[in-house]
């Protein structure tokens, strides 16, 4: 090793002595700058921030000062914010000193859940009101991240909500002890949309359509009707092989677990956790019933729809009516062939009724009916809540951020009050098609006049009355992944229904146990 000699070093442009001096000076300067700059960056958490206490009583009197209440919603709400605020002021009595600001979040529900998780964990004050999917409100409640409205608001307000809103929807915004943590904003109920023009050619008539509108039919009858329609449609298309029968959503995603499969399963009288009362817990102390015959038969029927009688697990009495592509369909890919006129029937949410019933689509030739069933509510082992006409319950709640300041919380209560007004609910239905989560408001003279959705409010009402909520608990996010994976594997013929459900039962039991341990 050669030590450099001093003379060599000194020939360099910067000597080590000079370097130490420069580095010391720079270090001191940076240190000072850091000290100066580090002081005043805490404004957000000071000056009237909320306590984060979820049970503090909130005054129901309007605040006297100017208050801005931010509502985390989606781009549809933000786009219609002027009309919404106008009706809240004119009909809901929202005071002028309360400004409402809608914030558009991601259109994807899961993205918004992740975002809200972050901001609530960080204790942020804004937004004060958060629009939450009924499919994931309960995990936030379990984490004590939302204001307990039952504990914070007068009993009169809470009891009004509990007496008038859809009870199944309220259950998805309630804690284990029944306390309310969110107020339903709008509900969503899937229905079957179908082509009247095609079925007319297949020999069905208006009397059938009128009957189906509120009474629905069995899956076996439905498969016959769709098969008849598909035959007609095949003759109408240039390429008959592109004709589809019944489209639904069978992709391995949360929609299969929460909704499509819940509908198929409960229409047979099957359930994930037995009785309806077990849907929301107690986690770890409820039976797992996915291996029961109704559940297996529901999957066999789904497979028959896709693969026909050639499938070794097929059920007799059902036609092959769904394209194989349903196993990778989510909402939009399943809707597009129907809107393009290549499918006879479609299971989808109300947003697609507005698209397909438009005059430039099918207009009055679009028929809508509640989902078919296989066993009646009375015949069902877990009836009457499970069984009969099924419809997965979708929709969104408004929850209150406990970290908001007291004044903003007061303003938020006024927003809740304004939104409870019947006329405001009806206006929301008209403005954006947001269905009131109140059964009595769905099919009224006023809603019947709304074009085009007004033609179908009776069907929506039936669907709403039969809506089945998903079993949302702290374990559900993980359980739903397992459900969609196993059911999708089975309808793709990768696993027999019995094997898939045995595997699912084992996973659900494991997740129940883990979640119950905290």
């Amino acid at each position: 090793m050669v030590k450099g000699n001093n003379s060599d070093r000194k020939r360099g442009r910067v000597s080590r002595r000079r370097f130490v001096q420069a580095a010391s000076a720079s270090g001191i300067a940076v240190g000072l700058a850091g000290c100066v700059g580090g002081g005043g960056n805490n404004n957000n958490n000071n000056g009237g921030g909320g306590s984060g206490d979820t049970e503090t009583p909130i005054s129901t009197e309007p605040p006297e000062e100017e208050v801005t209440v931010q509502i985390a919603a989606d781009s549809n709400f933000k786009g219609a914010s002027d009309a919404i605020i106008q009706t809240m002021r004119e009909n809901g009595g929202l005071p002028d000193n309360i400004q409402v600001e809608f914030i558009a979040g991601s259109f994807e529900s899961g993205d918004r859940r992740a975002k809200y998780q972050q901001l609530l964990s960080a204790g942020q004050e804004n937004p004060a009101i958060i629009m939450m999917d009924n499919g994931w409100t309960i995990p936030f409640i379990a984490r004590n991240q939302l204001q307990n409205l039952s504990a914070s608001l007068p009993e009169s307000i809470i009891s009004t909500v509990q007496d008038t809103y859809l009870s199944n929807m309220l259950a998805t915004a309630s804690g284990q002890n029944g306390d309310l943590y969110g107020i339903p904003l709008f509900a969503d109920f899937p229905t079957i949309q179908y082509r009247k023009d095609v079925l007319r050619e297949a020999g069905y008539g208006d009397s059938d359509f009128d009957s189906w509108a509120t009474e629905s039919m069995t899956w076996s009858d439905f498969s016959t009707v769709v098969a008849d329609g598909k035959e007609v449609l095949s003759g109408q298309l240039d390429d008959p092989s592109r004709a589809q029968g019944f489209n639904w959503q069978g992709d391995a995603y949360v929609g299969l677990a929460c909704c499509d499969f819940v509908e198929f399963m409960s229409s047979w009288g099957g359930s994930y956790f037995g009785e309806f009362g077990n849907l929301f817990g107690p986690v770890g102390d409820r039976p797992i019933t996915v291996e029961e015959e109704p559940v297996i038969n529901a999957i066999r029927m789904m497979r028959t729809f896709i693969h026909g009688q050639d499938d070794p697990e097929s059920l007799e009495g059902y036609e092959q009516i769904s394209p194989e592509a349903v196993v990778q369909y989510t909402e939009e890919p399943s809707r597009e062939p129907f809107t393009q006129g290549r499918a006879v029937a479609l299971r989808n949410w109300p947003y697609s009724i507005r698209i397909n019933a438009a005059e430039d689509a099918f207009g009055e030739d679009l028929g809508v009916m509640p989902l078919p069933y296989q066993v009646t509510a009375e015949e069902s082992k877990y009836g009457p809540e499970i069984g009969g006409i099924p419809s997965a319950l979708g929709g969104w709640h408004l929850a209150l951020n406990p970290n908001a300041s007291e004044t903003v919380k007061q303003g938020a209560v006024q927003v809740f009050r304004a939104l409870q007004d019947d006329q405001v609910r009806l206006d929301l239905f008209e403005i954006g098609g947001w269905i009131p989560p109140i059964p009595d408001l769905i099919a009224t003279d006023q809603t019947r006049e709304l074009e085009p959705i007004g033609r179908y409010v009776d069907q929506l009402k039936v669907a709403g009355e039969n809506a089945v909520p998903r079993p949302v608990t702290v374990a559900w996010p993980q359980q739903s992944t397992q459900v969609s994976k196993e059911v999708n594997a089975s309808i793709r013929q990768q696993k027999s229904p019995a094997d898939a459900m045995a595997s699912l039962a084992s996973s659900l039991a494991d997740l129940e146990e883990r979640a119950s341990q905290g």
């Binding site: 592109r242 995603y253 194989e324 062939p337 793709r492 997740l511």
Partner: protein, 336 residues
């Protein structure tokens, strides 16, 4: 008793003494020691930026998941998360198992580690091969070379989400020409893909690999081309005069001189490929093609299982470290 002035002089003298002895110590450092001394602030910064998150992640991985209450994680469980995830005991709680549960093909494509390794090996191999070919072509003089370069770079410039949507639509039945809902697409008729490729793990993995090759080959081509252009042209002239054939010139000049660049490019791509997430999420979704990053993201954001997510993240980092070590050993053998 010393006066105040004397005391001040003593303190000042002490300061001066410390400074002088520090400078003297520094002046006596060897060049290597001095280099490390200068690197110390940067290394400390690296420690904070790179190592601290790793330590924090490791710490989180030692705690149980928490589903109830305000706490982010549950109780301290030591290495239990690692044991349960690696042995498969935790598979039911994870969006996909880490390791294959059996030796069947379907089990292989359901396992996050296997899918990630298959993706990495296939994409890096083909990207290097095709990128090398493209670089060889671009290294030649021909009319329109500039436009060909632009054409090759275009896929690299497309945002990953846009690219994902292109491939998603390409393989949607009846939307792209490749797949039809009734088995009437080109790829189905050729027997290459099933009727529902985006719901099929093998097909989807293949699609994601093709999508990645389509996009990232340009990256490899550009890196390799830069290496090729740094080769002294005189070597080729001398070889030509000596009568070397094009193959001999490639084998004895281009290949040895370009190898270090190729290996470094492969190292970069391997690290990137091991972390694949975006293209999977946009084309097929993580449920169908579960990579290691998918597992971390689903566990953290979807399941709020922070302990499990941290454990998988740390395992992923460990696997990447092992792969990088393989490259580094390779570099050392090649004297790079």
């Amino acid at each position: 008793m010393a006066t105040e002035t004397e005391q001040a002089e003593t303190v000042g003298g002490d300061r001066s003494g410390v400074y002088t002895s520090f400078v003297r110590w520094m002046e006596n450092l060897t060049e290597t020691q001095f280099a490390y001394f200068l690197l110390t602030p940067a290394l400390l910064l690296l420690l904070v930026i790179a190592v601290w998150p790793l330590i924090a992640t490791f710490r989180l991985s030692l705690f149980a998941d928490s589903f109830i209450g305000g706490a982010t994680v549950g109780e301290f469980v030591g290495l239990q998360n690692y044991i349960e995830i690696i042995t498969g005991e935790r598979s039911a709680s994870l969006p996909a198992p880490l390791l294959p549960t059996s030796l069947s093909m379907s089990a292989l494509f359901e396992s996050a580690l296997a899918v990630t390794l298959v993706f990495t090996l296939a994409s890096v191999f083909f990207e290097t091969l095709i990128g090398f070919g493209q670089a060889l072509v671009l290294n030649q003089e021909f009319t329109g070379r500039r436009w060909v370069r632009v054409a090759i770079i275009i896929p690299w410039a497309i945002p990953i989400v846009i690219q994902g949507m292109i491939f998603f639509l390409l393989f949607q039945p009846d939307i792209g020409l490749l797949v039809g809902s009734e088995g009437n697409g080109i790829l189905q008729q050729l027997g290459i893909m099933s009727n529902t490729p985006l719901a099929n793990a093998q097909d989807s993995t293949l699609i994601v690999i093709v999508a990645d090759i389509w996009k990232t080959t340009a990256f490899m081509a550009l890196l390799i081309l830069a290496g090729m252009q740094s080769i002294n042209r005189d070597l080729y002239d001398v070889a030509k005069v000596a009568g070397a054939s094009p193959w001999q010139r490639f084998k004895t000049i281009t290949l040895p001189l370009i190898l270090p660049t190729v290996l470094v490019a492969m190292l970069f791509r391997t690290i990137q490929a091991m972390r694949v997430y975006g293209i999977i999420e946009t084309v097929s979704g993580c449920t169908t093609v579960p990579s290691l990053s998918c597992l971390v993201i689903q566990s953290f954001f979807q399941n709020s299982a922070v302990g499990s997510a941290a454990t998988i993240a740390f395992i992923t980092a460990g696997i990447i470290a092992i792969v990088v070590s393989v490259y580094i050993v390779g570099f050392a053998r090649e004297g790079i």
